[in-house]
Amino acid sequence: MSALLLVIILVPLVGAAVCGALVRAGAGPKGDTTAKTVGFVVSLVELVLVAVVWAMFVPAAPTRFQGELSVAWIPAFGTRFALGIDGIALVMIALLAVLVPIVIAYTSFTRSSEASAATGRGGTGRFPDGRGAGGFVALMLSLQGILVALFAATDVFLFYVLFEVMLVPMYFIIGRFGGARRQYAAVKFFLYSFLGGLLMLGSIIGIYVASGTRLGQASFDWTTLQHLAAQLPLSTQIPLFLGFFAAFAIKAPLVPLHTWLPDAGAEAPIGGGVILVGVLDKVGVFGFLRYCLPLFPLASQSLAPLALVLSVIGVIYGALLAAMQTDMKRFVSYTSIAHFGFIGLGIFAFSQQALAGSSLYMVNHGISTAMLFLVVGMLAARGGSSRIADYGGVGRIAPVLSGLFLVAGLTTLSLPGTNSFVSEFLVLLGAWPREPVYTVIATVGMIFAALYVLWVFQRTMTRPLRGEAVLGGGPGAASAAALGGVSDGGLRDMLEDDASARARARFGDLTGREIGVLAPLVLLIFLLGFFPQPVLDIVNPAVSATMSEVGVADPVGPNGVAR
């Protein structure tokens, strides 16, 4: 399996190189088309390979990591190119493997991506300056390769390098293929992440030094450093923990380090947004689980209140701001901030259920956000705008789009039967015994989630036809504008029918390909809603290991709390 781990890192990277070369060599639409096809095929191959890894993975294995591989890299410092996956890393790699083909297909082969002239309004899902999707596909594949390596890294230094390197393709995805304010957003994204990375670098050097003095042999090896944790006093752990925590809290992002995300999410092309919020941000959460907790158990426990407060603020703050957004892509970003709050609560409540819930949440939120982003992209591609106020009554002219928008919304508000419910409920259920106050506040956040989702749905999909994006300009718009003032039933009906027919023709419902892009996500949403246990079986052992590394006992036994 260790060879296979290497393969699933290399396949997308090689694919990226090929796509890049094709775009460059073809110099025009032809090269672009070939690149898109090649990229899509590569992403499918990767999906199959990851499925094989999933099948080979043994949930009940006694070791923390499977498929371990270690090659000397810079012998002078003892850094190694060391790989190995646990259950949490595996599910993240699998999530990425599912999302990348979907993103590539969406960007390359659907009506929403047709490279027509940019409309000038931010975030329509179309690329600026007639840029082809080939370059985007190449960047996406390279990002995938880097992220797989990052999730599989068992050397802290290797992790750090990949943590920084992954910014580069994402920076270009936002900066080259984004909306009107893409430069600003890309730079902001970069500065935040980079600042966090530097703080983490400080901590990495610190722990390296500490390992040298305590163990006699300085090391970057994760397992060695984890054993070191038992020897580090709290006063040493706290500053080291904070360096990691800052980097991950920016990435995840926790309030108040979140403001880069709405800009990045709104300006990134839809496909970029999916991977940015769906997977790349999860590196922060993954970092909490893999690095903060096991490497600094004492600091994690003593600073948990800080993380919990930030998380719970995020749940409410993100939800209220999501409700007030006027732009759909910014709306999606703020809903994610609220969800990251739930994940943070689950991690720092230290219980088996909450940690498992957070791990599962990483996967589920990736799926939900992807769904929401893509549907918003399909809507925006039709109306030429991502402003909520530009839409109204879309449900009447595009029922399939509207129905899938609702499905995306329902998984965002964690309706039972959808995937998100299981993870959110596990987080809250698990957090309750240890952190009742924070849990109650976060549970109230469930109401706000319903509010922001249904409000956006109401404004865009229901009510009479409304908004420039739906009704368009020209003669139709005049009669449509008149609708507002007409109270007479019959006349109103006639005008409405007229406007409705014109809008339906102009707007159009989802095409077969677009439905094909969303279908796997819809399937996963309900499949993981009713049958999440296979994923939990993969995640549970890693969570138990993390619990014992932190050195906390599960608060609830098989028969409840001890009385």
Binding site: M446, A478, D554, V556
Partner: protein, 692 residues
């Protein structure tokens, strides 16, 4: 000690065998129907209603089979469990997806699929002109499937799944007329207020898991006594919050009247007969917890008593036929809550009233729908009058439902409501007087508002003869009318075609109302429900048939002790109050002409009732407005505060960041430079520590 007692009272839980081993089919059939109709799209338009009716009818038939099978079993073997698979689990938590087949759940299965089938059939006719009829049936099937999961689930998590599932179906169906702005708002309001209740339900589940390490009914109920009284009180109060949300009980009652924006069959099935009674089901289902928590029980009775009065008072003031029925539902569910809050003496009475109410209120709503069908979708009773001549079957079935509801002797309500009143008179002196008094007063008010509704709709002058129908469900007038305080916005006649008198372009119903009886696909279900309305109460209550059947699930029926009024007098007193209420209604609307325009100058109680006793105003002032202010403040903070501080710091520190922003290449170079710098620092640091 308490634990042993509780465990002793509970019957053993056996495995489901024979016909019951495939009980999941009950849920699967309507769920499959919904799936086919949702995914099939317009291809299934032609036969969608057939699929919808057939699947629910199939579930009903299977439900009857299960019921007969259960009847054949001895009482102590009637509680059975059908585990299906592990839904999710981690550590000590294992949530099982399974069904619990006992008299309580089977009773609900029969109610849901039986009344559900009738309403499905009725809808074939009622929705025949709607181009989205297929979608309607898909949603209705989704509702039936969710509701069956709610009542059949064998643990709190399966309950929660069904609980929010019916909430979704309700949301979709209230908002079914997508073009009506009020429908969308009402749907959202219903979902949100339900979610408030759901938070209570969720927190109760968290506590149960923390205390007992499980969320399955069998274990939770068997070990309920292990929890302290304080914990049990907390759990029961939180469950009550959930029940209040779903059942439209005080203080979460404001969504239910608004839910009447949905198609009338939906009002009948979801917002009268089944979903809104889920709160009553919840209390009855978790009775082993409530039986150990007297404070929780007291809270349930108080909520029930307060709500039954609120519903009855507000119901007296409305002119919209569906809203009067909606407030009547709120009030009647109040009775049921009051009953199940009383403990063992009330469970059977409350559930009997629930079943009887399922029949007569569904029948009344279908009757109202039939009236609307014949009256161009009009709901304002001031525009009705004298309709008995034109809709004879509707009038007949409606009258039976009406008599059953007000408790006319020997019809359903007479037995089921009197049983509740009798039970509520027991206990301490204050308690008996307050609860029993509220229940009796409610009976009088019920007679008043229902008689008023009957007289305004079916009797008196035919006021509609002078009027022109107001058409288009999304007509702006409909909106301004529903919000009496709102100015008459959008009432102008601005249009491209010049001003046209209202009604002239109205093709479907030119000049006036043409009341007509509905087709038999609609009247037959109404007749069947009317038969149920008449007979259900006597059948269920006399000889404690229902009490005996339910005993394995909710325990034996207790005796009313220390009633403040001798229980033998209750039927007499209730009947006197009923006649009094009906008589006052006759004096106020039966003897003098009803003005078509609603009188504006009215006394303050009427004003208060018309404003829903200010429930919406209170919600608005306490929750909505402060929430909006807070959100606005946060948006400002986010833009100016958090982001501003960051941008400001960036400008201060970087200085050149503005320039970097403009040129992409310049920035990457600077990034590379920084990377290089960082790497140098790193290498230097590493060398420094490794060299010695």
């Amino acid at each position: 000690m308490l634990a042993l007692l509780a465990a002793d009272q509970l019957p053993p839980v056996g495995p489901a065998t024979g016909a019951a081993s495939a009980a999941w089919v009950l849920v699967a059939l309507p769920a499959l129907g919904a799936l086919v109709l949702f995914l099939g799209g317009t291809r299934t338009d032609r036969f969608g209603h057939v699929v919808g009716v057939a699947t629910v009818l199939g579930s009903f038939v299977y439900g009857v089979v299960l019921f007969v099978q259960a009847l054949a079993l001895p009482g102590e073997e009637r509680v059975r469990d059908l585990p299906l698979y592990e839904w999710f689990g981690s550590g000590s938590l294992s949530v099982e997806f399974g069904l619990r087949l006992d008299p309580l759940s089977l009773t609900f299965v029969l109610l849901i699929t039986g009344v559900g089938s009738l309403i499905h059939i009725y809808s074939v006719g009622y929705m025949s002109h709607d181009e989205h009829r297929r979608k309607f049936f898909a949603m209705l099937n989704l509702f039936v499937a969710s509701m069956l999961i709610l009542v059949l689930g064998n643990g709190f998590l399966t309950l929660y799944l069904g609980w929010e599932g019916v909430g979704l179906a309700s949301y979709l169906l209230i908002g079914f007329y997508v073009a009506r702005p009020l429908a969308a708002s009402a749907a959202k309001k219903a979902f949100l207020m339900n979610r408030v209740g759901d938070v209570g339900l969720a927190l109760a589940i968290f506590i149960l898991f923390q205390q007992l390490g499980t969320t399955q009914y069998t274990e939770v109920f068997a070990r309920a006594g292990e929890m302290s009284t304080g914990t049990l009180t907390a759990v029961t109060l939180l469950l009550l919050l959930g029940a209040c949300g779903k059942s439209g009980q005080f203080p979460l009652q404001a969504w239910l009247p608004d839910a009447m924006e949905g198609p009338t069959p939906v009002s009948a099935l979801i917002h009268a007969a089944t979903m809104v009674t889920a709160g009553v089901y919840l209390v009855a289902r978790t009775h082993p917890l409530y039986d150990l928590a007297p404070t929780g029980q007291l809270a349930v009775t108080i909520v029930g008593a307060v709500t039954l009065l609120i519903g009855a008072i507000v119901g007296c003031a409305y002119d919209d036929i569906k809203k009067v029925l909606a407030y009547s539902t709120v009030s009647q569910i109040g009775y049921m809550m009051l009953a199940v809050g009383l403990g063992p003496i009330g469970y059977a009475a409350g559930l009997a009233h629930l079943l009887a109410h399922g029949f007569f209120k569904a029948g009344l709503f279908l009757g109202a729908g039939s009236v609307m069908h014949g009256m161009a979708d009009e709901t304002d009773m001031r525009r009705f009058g004298g309709l008995w001549r034109h809709l004879p079957i509707t009038f007949g079935t409606f009258t039976l439902g009406y008599l059953a509801l007000i408790g006319f002797p020997f019809l359903s309500g007479f037995y089921s409501k009197d049983a509740i009143i009798e039970a509520s008179l027991g206990g301490s002196l204050t308690r008996g007087w307050l609860l029993g008094g509220a229940a009796l007063l409610g009976a009088g008010l019920t007679a008043f508002y229902m008689t008023r509704l009957m007289l305004m709709t079916f009797f008196g002058a035919e006021r509609w003869r002078e009027l022109t129908p107001r058409r288009a469900p999304w007509d702006p007038q409909a909106e301004s009318e529903a919000r009496p305080q709102a100015p008459e916005a959008g009432h102008g006649t601005r249009s491209d075609q010049g001003s046209t008198p209202i009604g002239e372009l109205d093709h479907s119903a030119p000049h006036g109302y043409h009341p007509h009886e509905s087709p038999s696909v609609m009247t037959v279900p109404m007749i069947l429900l009317a038969v149920g309305s008449a007979g259900a109460g006597a059948f269920l209550v006399i000889g404690e048939r229902l009490g005996g059947w339910l005993e394995p699930a909710v325990g034996p029926v207790g005796e009313v002790s220390d009633a403040v009024i001798p229980t033998g007098l209750v039927p007499g007193i209730a009947s006197v109050l009923m006649v009094l209420g009906a008589g006052i209604a006759y004096l106020s609307v039966g003897r003098k002409p009803v003005p078509v325009e609603r009188p504006a100058r009215v006394s303050w109680p009427v004003r208060a009732a018309r404003a829903d006793l200010y429930a919406n105003a209170i919600n608005e002032g306490l929750v909505a407005r402060p929430g909006l202010w807070l959100s606005r403040a946060l948006v400002y903070l986010d833009n100016r505060g958090v982001d501003g501080a960051v941008n400001g710091t960036a400008a201060l520190l970087g200085g050149a960041s503005g320039r970097a922003r403009r040129t992409q290449t310049g920035f990457v170079r600077s990034y590379a430079l920084t990377m290089l710098g960082g790497s140098l620092v790193l290498v230097a640091a590493l060398l420094a520590v490794t060299l010695p």
